[in-house]
Symmetry: C2
Subunit: 297 residues, 2 copies
Amino acid sequence: MRHVAQNRPFVIKNGAKDFPARKHWNATYLRTVMASENVNVAITPHGNADSIVTLPDGGALFVKPHETSQPFQSVLHKIQAQELDPTYIGPTHYAQTQNDNLRAEYTSLFADVPASIPFARIALNAEPDAMNFWLGNSHSSTALHKDNYENIYVQILGRKHFTLLPPIEAPCVHERSVLSATYTSTLDIAIDEPEQYTPFATWDPDAPESNATPYSHLSQPMQVTLDEGDVLYLPALWYHKVGQSCNEEGVCVAVNYWYDLDFAGGFWSMAGFVRNAGIISAKEEQAEKGVGKEKGV
Amino acid sequence: MRHVAQNRPFVIKNGAKDFPARKHWNATYLRTVMASENVNVAITPHGNADSIVTLPDGGALFVKPHETSQPFQSVLHKIQAQELDPTYIGPTHYAQTQNDNLRAEYTSLFADVPASIPFARIALNAEPDAMNFWLGNSHSSTALHKDNYENIYVQILGRKHFTLLPPIEAPCVHERSVLSATYTSTLDIAIDEPEQYTPFATWDPDAPESNATPYSHLSQPMQVTLDEGDVLYLPALWYHKVGQSCNEEGVCVAVNYWYDLDFAGGFWSMAGFVRNAGIISAKEEQAEKGVGKEKGV
């Protein structure tokens, strides 16, 4: 509860060691249990689901993956093959629906994890809003973003590599409204219709010179790696970028619990103020640069 | 603990009913117990300790009270006389040292209140940094300000009237650096030497048209009256303006517990960002007005 009050992350090393999932899950078990199931899978050319794609003309698009339903066994096979078979040619597959899929699509695996995390239920005063199952390989990454949720993230197989920025660093991440697009089944980029813009962080802490705001250089990203069995409390509104490493079977598997964030106190409004001040400041900076350019001409 | 996490105030109605202070304290008891003691007292012409005084030329000063040491019985007598005796002529006296005076100056009263508030000790994970004793009458008020403390405020005799603004409203209160001064023993205003400036809220929610920022009209002040025995949790960095009403003996008596605020999480840095954004915005507004005036000329 004190960590929630401070909005500070922590890791419980091997905190999930008693989860049945930690004892039973491996590629064979998953294949057997999910044998007859179709699941939703995100397909991208470079493992870049929900991320910014910079166009040749310098413009930017927020590109969502091609989502489709496939037999679980096929998805698992392709994820493993891309990781382990040097002759694999094809796109990157990532089962990462984030729509409470563990209680919907993956019901036969749901019994292997607790339906509720006792310390989180008490500290957050809530049951989970969603439980998600993640299956991918090292080719997939998740671009820097934040969620309006408190998050308990549990690593089951392989490792996850988090880059974390607190909400006060919102002015560093250069959030902008970016034109939305989606990968087609042939992995071309199609602009969404009707046209819509998605607010998204366009600064990448791993490429800090590009898309920087005047504040980006002040960012102090934290690096956290979750080993198998580790449990991360990722507080609401923390920006996170996530990479992954596979186990010897060529998979990376995690589950996470999302809890509603507390909108009742000052946190939500203050974080919103900071974020909006950052957005306005970056726009003004941009406008000044524009003026400078004109003068230069 | 959940209220601390939310930085939200609450009142426990008659929460101090079992304090010995609530059972024993009255003017006669205080006079008897403190008979031989000298205490620090703040003297002002209009009950305006630590507040903004606007000068005839439109300028502003942050004026501190004349502080002196007097026999407790004399202080109590003058406070009661000003309240109850229509012929009283003289300045306003307020015992309000705020330097842990209950454990220093008022040691003989200290035993009548708990040395620690159990729920606060647990929720704030700390013992009090300071315990203060307040003795005044309805002529004294405390101007809008904030403290870098978590505060448990306990009303013993009479009533206190709080006007409360959350930290997100910092851009409403028009904090400025104001030249500091002090009332002399003759209650003239003397500018402090060496010259110094105090950052202080210059907007008054009870006179909202004056000294407003572009955001002041958005403020939604809360009004809270503490009756005898009531306990207020006043969270860190909340702006508060305080007036008081006396009991039939012509006194208003309270004690409060200050606890260190938690600087470890995101709250302190986010509140600082909001406050500084407000200050910068108000300065820019002022500069634009200046430009406007020049153009007008």
